[in-house]
Symmetry: C2
Subunit: 321 residues, 2 copies
């Protein structure tokens, strides 16, 4: 048995690889087999993370295991899908049992947190790279698309923004901070929580949704374009964490919240009548603006002045938008 | 719009990305959405190809486009699944429009040949690598597994073996040959045809199946292990192409047929009563041995002598088994 065969057996033995709801056949044959309930659709998304581009080569493999799955799984939350499973395509320059053990532990922790079963994959030799394909189920016709926003809808986000981008100097070891500041920022970077409960609660309510990976303004632009309208963002309403303000200062914190990626918080448009039900359900919903006629994204200050930046930069680690 | 955004639009415009049976939502949102008929299961498989490991860096991108999809899609054929769609995770060191155009053309050609819709993916910067995740549908309970072979079943393959491994000196430019010899060998390497029709015809008939990617003996070993029996292979019955014998000589041709990978021809076990129906349907079925009690794989010469090699080498380009 070759070393890569051994790795496959290693992942196949993980708790998250022992099957689950919707998994008729897991790791070990030519294909996995998924069952889908009647009147459901399967949601599918693929994400690749490359060492040196999307994460530092020297990072903690356990944290990488968590983050690599959470980043991919977040797309399921953004569709309002219930998690089912995922495949892992792992390319490794060499086989280090210590690295693998830690990576698999972090991956398994996030998989069980997300209720995602590892159903298959491929392990190859090459420059370190991770491709996850995630699967979820959603009642037919109820998936949250980007294209349904209506003029007059509220623009909302599911939590504080900018923490992941703000954490980069900590991630890269360029700066240090007291634990009460660094812990929440690093947690958002290394262990983002896909907002599955929020996504499911938005079915039949939100008119458009996605998870923020390119930055609030850029991702609002995706909804605006797909829905053929404009989105107004009120800067004063964009939620920013006290930890981020303390670490970066108010101006950089605001910048991170607007243009930093990698938060994986949902942004969505919502007819106002649905807001009370979501808040009654205990979900964090922050209204930050409104859908209006027009195109693109308009950023307004507390006086209603248009302060839209001409260029929307990216402050996250990724070199590719 | 960044250059990687442009690439996404490029693939989204390909004919194979315009949807198809079972694709409720294709490229462009957080997830794709697949519909599955009642009483069907979704078959899923992931394969990664890394430049310098699974294919030469300097190869023709159009041929690579064909091969990268065919290799992944073959796993669907091996399950008896009907093709539905695939995602493409493409990591590129730089953006060359010429390379991309040729790659996309080859990919699209194979996708349409296989009736696979491109439903999503990710494009990132990094060392050249391709991960495909393929989707097919199969009537619930009828997927062809590795584990169902019964003592007494015939051992069969769906075509000539060894051509892809035999083609390697041509692929790598180490040797040349006349077109009538090189063409069929190179075609098997660069454009393997997933045996979908054979796979579907084997539903309800074959007791175990897989597609040969590691080499006949190694892959028979996978069936033998999963089915808890032994498989006897009669060397004289293993089909080898005249082109391969002419190019490599009889001994090397035999070796390629037994241990060379990358043919993506189906190997399966079949109760003898089903053989006539398959042949009447015009399907190429070569009986090469039989399932017997025991374990592992036994290779026999024309006199019935056990000539099983002690070590099963790999002659294909891949460094990892």
């Amino acid at each position: 048995m070759g070393e890569f065969e051994l790795i496959r057996h290693y992942f196949a033995a993980a708790p998250c690889a022992q099957g689950g709801a919707g998994v008729a056949l897991g790791i070990g044959d030519d294909c996995a087999l998924l069952d889908l309930p009647a009147a459901a659709q399967l949601a599918v998304s693929t994400d690749t993370l490359v060492a040196g581009v999307h994460f530092p080569h020297a990072c903690d493999p356990s944290l990488l295991g968590q983050r690599s799955l959470a980043v991919a799984a977040s797309d399921l939350a953004a569709m309002g899908a219930t998690p089912v499973g995922f495949t892992l395509a792992l390319t490794l320059p060499e086989v280090s049992e210590q690295w693998l053990k830690a990576y698999a532990e972090g991956l398994d922790r996030m998989a069980r947190q997300c209720r995602l079963s590892l159903i298959g994959g491929d392990t190859t030799r090459g420059p370190l790279s991770i491709t996850m394909t995630v699967f979820g189920r959603v009642p037919a016709g109820q998936a949250l698309l980007r294209s349904g926003a209506q003029v007059g809808d509220l623009l909302c986000v599911g939590g504080e923004l900018g923490n992941a981008a703000g954490a980069l100097p900590l991630v890269l070891g360029e700066r240090e901070a007291a634990a009460e500041i660094s812990a929440p920022l690093l947690a958002q970077y290394w262990s983002p929580s896909p907002q599955f409960a929020l996504g499911r609660a938005l079915r039949g309510k939100a008119t458009a949704a996605l998870d923020i990976s390119d930055g609030l303004l850029a991702d609002c632009g995706h909804i605006a374009k797909a829905s053929r309208l404009a989105l107004e963002v009120n800067l004063a309403q964009v939620p920013v964490s006290p930890a981020l303000v303390a670490f970066s200062g108010p101006a950089a914190a605001r910048q991170a919240a607007l243009t930093g990626g990698d938060d994986y918080v949902l942004v969505f448009t919502l007819p106002a009548q649905h807001l009370p039900a979501l808040r009654d359900a205990g979900l964090a919903v922050h209204v930050i603006g409104r859908a209006v006629a027009g195109e693109g994204v308009v950023l307004r200050d507390e006086h209603g002045q248009d302060i839209t930046p001409r260029q929307r930069g990216y402050q996250h680690f990724r070199e590719t938008p």
